[in-house]
């Protein structure tokens, strides 16, 4: 095995391990914490790229099957096996990604038994399940032969023709239905991508790009394992592609006849390009007829994206394949195929994600974890593909060469128990190293939950309601979890009109979004007071069984005179509620005018400190009359121990220590 393939495999393993870590996090933490999906974008990368795009790129199985089994174009038969392998792995990886995408993965079997025949998704589900079974039947003879079960393989081979045709009709249904999925959003999907012809667009582009994927796979595998089959020159020459270009452009028949697979690939690519060309024409005709070309001319970013998508998916491949010089070069053919595949993926992402940006008024960017799982699943599929190519006769010559390189793969499948040994041979230490390296890295890189974009407590938003004309905001001014009405213009007027903004908005503390209410309404929150306004709000709300969003917000009138501004002057006296708490001060009630509190501070001092002073003398406990007894933070720096002592003395009156 040459070192380049080994490095590619290591890289794929790394991506795959990241994907598995992402899958673990997704199952452990749930969808919301690990993805950037939201109510505005319920469908994200996993569904659009892996499911809709991945399935579309796996059309090769049925398209090549149509050419070989129905049209009897025997020259394409060598591509049948790899095409089916691509289809099998493509569908398998798509379903795997989808399993992580659905909210309740353990219920993936529900559509088998719970039917809704009016749903396109239902139809897609059934067709995908059935077609996956078909690809399994189609692909299994290769494995069965290798395992020595020749009779079963022969039986499956005999029914292959019928199975392939069944597979073709299933594919026709679900590839078009994948497009029909988006027919339900005429008012949400951008008009450039929405069209009643979406099902036709989807199946045509999928067939074209799916055939191109076979070409791509063949070219890449040939580069890795069997350069002669497409380059037709000795592998020792470094500039292989240029040589083959020179060799092939002279005449229709290549001078170097060893590049035997090139005509086959060109044939497939030409068919693909005819399909893609028709797709482009229908698409443009639809644009003209529906009048959406006006939208294209608006010059928004969607127009450019639409153009780029069409250029990548159709124009570049068609030009490269139509040009005789480039189409005979495997490298250019590979570029054309890659461009078509990339263009198809872009088209699916456009229809499934970008097309909804304008309607949602928001942007969806997949989280790192979504990318990791998405790419990890694809990397896993490529790894399995490489394994199959190396150890099973999918590309005959490549397999033979690889077998010679590996030396002893001959009986690899005669004993199933040796499979793990085969996987790990020569790579065990490398794999261990990669795993040890990848898992902590993936953990660090992907660890959820991601912080949501909205910051809960620094959010000011115009409220609705009766007060709207008074410009009332609903704010959580003190970041205490209690939202309250904030008449903004009243505050503005009171503070001096238009020039008063800076009173609140430019004295922010670092990290704060705006001045808290308590900055000005200090009576509520002054930390030198023993009186806790918020505590009173809460307890009063509970005691009076108030209701509503915030029961606290309705508690004002319990203590304050509703007709007056809510100041300490309009508040009840403490004794009205706390009569029982002040057993020793009952006689003071007569002497002090407690019915109308003269002022908050004054009221407090009159109600409490007079008694405290007399009681301190009577009980010989001087701490009772200390300021710090009731103002725990008043003198903490100078004499914290004394304050603490005073407090404990107050609490345990029986045992003054």
């Amino acid at each position: 095995m040459n070192s380049r393939i080994r490095w590619i495999k290591d890289l794929l393993w790394l991506i795959f391990l990241f994907g598995m870590m992402a899958a673990f996090f997704r199952l452990w933490f749930g969808l919301g914490a690990t993805t950037n999906l939201s109510d505005a974008f319920p469908w994200g990368l996993w569904k659009v790229l892996n499911m809709v795009g991945g399935v579309a790129l796996s059309t090769s199985g049925f398209a090549v099957g149509f050419l070989v089994y129905v049209l009897k174009l025997e020259r394409y038969r060598p591509l049948m096996k790899p095409a089916i392998l691509i289809a099998f792995l493509g569908y398998g990886s798509s379903c795997l990604a989808l399993l992580f995408d659905i909210g309740l993965p353990h219920r993936f079997w529900h559509p088998l038994f719970m039917w809704n025949e009016t749903s396109f998704l239902f139809e897609v589900f059934w067709c995908v399940v059935l077609y996956f079974t078909v690809t399994l039947i189609e692909i299994s003879p290769t494995f069965l032969n290798r395992l020595g079960m020749v009779n079963s393989a022969r039986f499956l081979h005999r029914i292959a023709g019928g199975v392939v045709i069944l597979g073709i009709s299933l594919s026709c249904l679900h590839h078009s239905s994948l497009g029909s999925l988006f027919l339900v959003t005429p008012q949400r999907l951008h008009p450039l991508w929405y069209s009643p012809l979406l099902p036709i667009f989807f199946i045509m582009s999928a067939v074209g790009a799916g055939l191109m994927v076979v070409v791509l796979a063949k070219v890449i595998c040939a580069r890795w394992y069997d350069p002669e089959s497409v380059y037709g020159t000795l592998p020792a020459e470094s500039s292989a592609s240029i040589c083959s270009l020179d060799g092939l452009t002279g005449s229709r028949a290549p001078q170097n006849s060893r590049a035997k697979d090139i005509p086959m690939l060109v044939g497939i690519a030409s068919i693909a390009c005819w399909v893609l060309g028709c797709y482009l024409l229908i698409k443009l005709a639809d644009l003209l007829v529906s009048g959406d070309w006006k939208v294209l001319l608006l010059g928004r970013w969607e127009s450019y994206l639409y153009g780029i998508e069409l250029v990548i998916s159709v124009v570049i491949p068609v030009i490269l394949v139509a040009n005789r010089r480039t189409r005979c070069s495997p490298t250019w053919l590979g570029i054309a195929a890659f461009s078509a595949a990339l263009g198809l993926a872009l088209n699916r992402v456009d229809v499934g994600i970008f097309g909804y940006f304008a309607d949602a008024g928001a942007i969806y960017l997949p989280s790192l974890l979504e990318w990791a799982l998405s790419l990890g699943v694809i990397a896993g599929a490529i790894l399995v593909f490489m394994f199959c190519v190396e150890h099973l006769p999918f590309f005959e010559r490549a397999f033979e060469r690889q077998e010679n390189v590996l030396g002893s793969a001959e009986n690899a499948f005669s004993n199933v128990l040796r499979v793990p040994d085969l996987v790990l041979r020569g790579g065990l230490y490398r794999l261990t190293l990669i795993t040890v390296f990848a898992i902590p890295l993936a953990w660090l890189a992907l660890y959820p939950p991601y912080t949501q974009s909205h910051e809960l407590h620094s959010f000011v938003k115009p409220s609705l309601g009766l007060d709207d004309l008074r410009n009332t905001l609903k704010i959580d001014g003190n970041r205490s979890g209690v939202f309250t009405g904030f008449p903004h213009s009243e505050h503005q007027n009171r503070l001096g009109g238009a020039s008063s903004c800076k009173t609140c908005h430019h004295i922010s503390l670092p990290g704060d979004k705006s001045t808290p209410c308590s900055r000005c309404h200090r009576d509520l929150t002054r930390d030198t007071l023993i009186f806790d306004h918020f505590l009173h709000m809460r307890t009063v709300a509970v005691r009076e069984e108030l209701s509503g969003w915030y029961p606290e917000n309705h508690s004002c009138d319990v203590c304050h005179n509703p007709a007056e501004p809510k100041t300490s002057a309009s508040a009840k006296s403490c004794l009205e509620c706390h009569r029982d708490d002040m057993t020793i001060g009952n006689e003071a009630e007569v002497s002090l005018d407690l019915k109308y509190a003269p002022g908050f501070e004054c009221a407090m001092h009159k109600t409490c400190s007079v008694c405290h002073a007399s009681e301190a003398k009577r009980l010989n406990r001087p701490a009772l009359s200390e300021c710090s007894t009731c103002h725990p933070t008043l003198k903490p720096r100078s004499d914290s121990r004394r304050a603490t002592w005073a407090k404990s003395a107050l609490l345990s009156q029986d045992n003054p220590g």
């Binding site: 933490f29 049209l71 009897k72 044939g267």
Partner: protein, 265 residues
């Protein structure tokens, strides 16, 4: 078939309906209050009902419209969403697999998902179906202190709405939102301002299942047709190759194979 009529001119935006809705569904008032300010339109998995501002001083309650031909019901692949005879579109969490296609399919962006949950479900207004079956009206209608919401048989409600549009001098626009949009809804709006902000289409649009139904009902026929066509094609080509077998060998592999080969065959 019941319906709610929302009179936008009477709504003051006090959100008493939302409070009642949250309490009727045993949800957390605090979470609902936070979602009011953290979500775009005030709808979330904790809040099935919200009040939007159409214009300064004009408010409208927004929740599931309970379409007569609901797109979500047609879209759900396991039949988790159903339209009941009472007119409500209700959700059965026992069937749901969490594909979220209903959220994509809804033209009003109504269904919400419990994103923060490990086992999330779709959440939406159910027209208080349990209360309806007990013979009560929906909680929001009961709670509205300004009489902006009326509830009754859909036809009676429509008649009432038409009567109000023609006979009162409240400057109502001559349109009852929900009468024909998307095939008609069970939540109807009377207004003197435009309600485009709520997701209503500018003109009368056809129900979404009407776009998809012709295709989906023909799908089995299309599939069988393709199958039969393919077998026929295979038979013809098999026979032709059999007849040509004596004369001609397999086509020259060097031949430039383009789309024409399909026709030549």
């Amino acid at each position: 078939m019941f319906a709610i009529l929302v009179d936008v001119t009477k709504c003051t935006g006090c959100e008493k309906c939302v409070e009642a809705c949250v309490q009727a569904h045993d949800q957390d008032l605090r979470k609902a209050a936070v979602d009011r300010v953290t979500t775009k339109d005030g709808l979330s998995a904790n809040r099935f009902c919200t009040v939007l501002q159409a214009e300064p001083g004009r408010f409208a309650r927004k929740s599931c419209m309970h379409c007569l031909e609901p797109s979500c019901v047609a879209a759900c692949l396991v039949g988790s969403l159903t339209k009941t005879p009472e007119g409500a579109v209700v959700y059965d969490p026992a069937k749901c697999i969490g594909c979220r296609y209903c959220m994509l399919a809804c033209p009003f962006h109504i269904p919400r998902y419990q994103w923060e949950s490990i086992t999330p479900f779709v959440m939406k207004c159910d027209l208080c179906i349990d209360r309806l079956r007990e013979g009560k009206v929906p909680a929001c209608v009961e709670a509205c202190p300004h009489g902006a919401l009326s509830f009754g048989e859909r036809q009676a409600i429509l008649d009432l709405a038409h009567l109000q549009v023609t006979q009162t001098d409240c400057n109502y626009l001559p349109r009852i939102w929900g009468e024909e949009e998307y095939g008609g809804t069970s939540v109807l709006y009377l207004s003197d301002v435009d309600l485009g902000c709520m997701g209503w289409p500018a003109d009368k649009s056809i129900p979404i299942p009407e776009i998809t139904d012709p295709l989906i009902t023909r799908t089995p026929h299309i599939g069988l047709g393709v199958l039969a066509g393919l077998f026929g094609l295979k038979w013809i080509i098999d026979r032709r190759t059999l007849l040509m077998d004596g004369r001609q060998e397999a086509p020259d592999p060097e031949e430039d194979a383009t789309g024409e080969v399909e026709r030549d065959e």
